[in-house]
């Protein structure tokens, strides 16, 4: 056990902290409406120019070659500084790890630098009206076009976060019409300005137009839009779900920072006189710490070559439910003011989505039971 960071890592932290303190913008609108999205894009480009957009990537793609430990440090500092949410996150945290693992050198060179620079903005096209928790029920199809050397995509994707503001989508399409379930699916990368693609944004619970549905009708994409091989989409997609559920999308920094703000709110609101409210605050703080410690242990395992696999479902269950409890504790402290439209109530609405997206928590519990504990599927 050694829970200290090296001098080099501490220097990295100091550099990140100084830059963030000097540059983090204040008072942006929500990143999930048109005005706010544009503001967030400006911030993303500033991050990229300063080399902080994708710290863990190789330098040739716009990163700093940062270790996983340094990435965790950066995330801690990012949320500590109160920096904006990352509108690029579905690209840099979900698609990019998949491209690094499965992409051809040509795909890596074509996609990654533009993604890092927030020139291309990626959304996720997985859910369909009939395929939510049951992702293998995907019906959208891709039909071979030999003449043009590519595929024609037809179908409907939905719950596509920030789809109305993005330029590209990655998603699963059925390439083998005879196939069922998780066989015969292929992972495609689709420019949203492709003829035959229509995007319609719609309002989320919080009022922002953060959702979209994407209609595809005979939309042609060339062969180089396929990531990881035809009919191999399920295993390629599972690599991304591990990222989404686990470490990369939800580093502990976000919860540590929220827990700290919660403790400050509790002090201001006199929680010392209210044992019940105080206990909820302390539980939330403890859970945020526990998530941090679990992550440090997990990164140690990854650094020594172990794969996280189905254990990423433990992360997802814990952070998503922690996030709800944490915000509920804050709203309880706020009492009648809880309904006011501010950071805590917005954070609460955002947290409510956590147990639903990236595979509902019911699905995650099945995965933990079957693939971590080894209980029988049937």
């Amino acid at each position: 056990m050694d829970l200290t960071y090296s001098a080099g890592e501490e220097a990295f932290r100091a550099e990140a902290r100084a830059w963030l303190e000097a540059n983090v913008p204040r008072g942006l609108e929500s990143g999930d409406n048109a005005v706010g999205f544009a503001q967030h894009l400006e911030w993303e480009r500033l991050l990229f120019e300063a080399g902080w957009a994708v710290v863990s990537w190789p330098r040739e793609y716009g990163g700093r070659d940062a270790s996983l430990w340094e990435w965790l440090i950066f995330e801690e500092e990012y949320y500590r500084a109160g920096a904006p949410m990352r509108v690029t996150q579905n690209g840099i945290f979900l698609l990019a790890p998949t491209i690094f693992e499965f992409g051809t050198p040509e795909q890596q060179a074509r996609v990654l630098p533009r993604m890092a620079a927030a020139q291309d903005l990626w959304c996720q096209g997985w859910s369909e009206p009939g395929a939510g928790s049951d992702l293998a029920a995907t019906k959208a199809r891709a039909v071979r076009d030999e003449e043009r050397g590519g595929w024609r995509l037809t179908g409907q994707k939905t719950w596509t976060t920030r789809g109305a503001f993005c330029t590209h989508m990655f998603g699963l399409f059925r390439t083998d019409p005879e196939s069922e379930r998780h066989r015969g699916l292929t992972y495609f990368m689709v420019p949203l300005d492709t003829p035959g693609v229509t995007v319609r944004g719609f309002g989320r619970l919080d009022g922002d137009e953060g959702f979209a549905e994407v209609f595809l009708e005979d939309a042609f994409v060339p062969d180089d839009a396929v990531l990881g091989g035809v009919d191999r989409g399920w295993s390629v997609a599972m690599a991304t779900t591990g990222s989404e559920r686990g470490l990369t999308l939800r580093s502990p920094g976000r919860f540590l920072s929220a827990a700290q703000r919660l403790v400050e709110l509790a002090r201001e609101r006199g929680a010392a006189d209210d044992a019940l409210a105080r206990d909820r605050v302390v539980r939330a703080w403890i859970d945020a710490e526990a998530y941090q410690l679990f992550t440090l242990q997990q990164v140690t395992e990854i650094a020594s070559g172990a794969a996280t696999g189905a254990r990423s479902s433990l992360n997802k269950l814990f952070w998503s439910e922690l996030d709800v409890r944490l915000h509920e504790a804050a709203l309880d402290l706020l009492g009648p003011e809880a309904e006011l439209d501010d950071a805590w109530s917005r954070g609460f609405l955002f947290a409510l989505a956590g147990p639903i997206y990236a595979g509902t928590n019911e699905i995650q519990r099945n995965i933990v039971a079957e693939r971590v504990l080894g209980l029988p599927r049937k």
Partner: protein, 342 residues
């Protein structure tokens, strides 16, 4: 940054696990109960002799005093293994509380007996005077170390009133406030002994929970109803997943608290409190889940589950329950009027 045991620490832990798996099966745990006979008691004491031979009993005693002088990171692994086997002896109290405390108090003769495996010590530092394992102990330590001070008394084994516990192996005794003799101990040594006891009890709870969860998982595979294994039912799966979730997020907190104690970190007390709160809650959840998943069979005395569950029900409340520990965390966070006093 490296959040893992060293290979030496992991190897010692493995060795203890192997020893206890071979020498302390549930039959030996039952042998620790009051209705056991002479032969049973001898089996239990043999496990202790083997642990002493491995150095586990003197693991926390400084090397200069004849022990292994291991740090807390190594110790929590050993206590988790003791918990996994539900070892029916006061290993926490003797090896990790009394050993270093008696060494700090200069009680060389007692320490020597302890390291050799000839002195079992029951200890209650929470001011309750209710000492687990009093029936089998050769000496008792009582006091109130919760607020980092107080008097510690060493009591001869005969001077207690036996009381029945739901966990027969714990066979506690109630000791009067003025029994025994006062022991010379620095407040810092007493406070350190308290924190080690809290942390060690958290580690034991993790180990007990691992066994309870393994038993319930195994049973969910085997037990068939409606023509299928009950482990195929989502209602069963989700309960077991939740127990694992609680355990997997408590375990790193226990290891971190050990590191904080070893490093002398200023927030070590807070970290220990957080570890015990998480471990107590996780263990109670796991025990309840294991009982429910088993159904009626676990509600029998013949089936072994209760040996582990009862130890959890006692241990979750000993050394400060989850609520009490969270109040310590609240104080450390400046959320009490007293501030960080404990």
């Amino acid at each position: 940054m490296r959040f893992a045991l060293t290979s030496d620490q992991a190897a010692l832990r493995e060795a203890v696990r192997d020893l206890l798996r071979a020498e302390c099966p549930p039959a030996v745990v039952r042998a620790g109960w009051p209705e056991s006979n002479e032969a049973d008691a001898a089996r239990v004491r043999r496990v202790w002799a083997q642990l002493a031979e491995m150095g586990v009993v003197g693991a926390a005693v400084p090397e200069a005093a004849g022990g292994l002088g291991l740090d807390a990171c190594a110790l929590v692994g050993l206590l988790e293994e003791a918990g996994r086997a539900a070892l029916p002896l006061p290993v926490l109290e003797t090896a990790f509380v009394a050993g270093p405390l008696l060494a700090a108090a200069g009680e060389e003769a007692l320490v020597q007996r302890l390291v050799n495996g000839d002195l079992l010590v029951g200890a209650a530092l929470d001011g309750s005077g209710l000492v687990p394992y009093a029936r089998v102990a050769d000496a008792l330590l009582v006091g109130d170390a919760r607020t980092g001070g107080g008097e510690l008394r060493l009591v001869a084994p005969a001077v207690f009133e036996p009381v029945a516990s739901i966990d027969g192996a714990r066979a506690p005794g109630r000791v009067a406030d003025d029994a025994g003799v006062a022991l010379e101990a620095e407040p810092a040594a007493l406070a350190a002994a308290w924190e080690r006891g809290v942390l060690g009890s958290a580690a034991q709870l993790l180990g007990l929970s691992r066994t309870l969860l393994a038993m319930a998982t195994q049973y969910a595979h085997e037990r068939r109803q409606f023509g299928v294994a009950i482990g195929t039912f989502q209602a069963v799966k989700h309960q077991l997943a939740d127990a694992l979730l609680a355990l997997e997020f408590a375990a790193p907190a226990v290891l971190r608290a050990a590191w904080s104690l070893d490093a002398g970190a200023p927030q070590a007390g807070r970290d220990v409190a957080m570890a015990k709160a998480l471990a107590s809650d996780a263990a109670l959840k796991t025990a309840a889940t294991a009982l429910q998943v088993h159904g009626a069979i676990a509600y029998t005395v013949e089936y072994d589950l209760h040996l582990f569950a009862k130890r959890v029900w006692a241990g979750a409340r000993a050394w400060g329950d989850a609520d009490w520990q969270r109040t310590r965390v609240a104080a450390a966070l400046g959320l009490t009027h007293e501030g960080a006093t404990r």
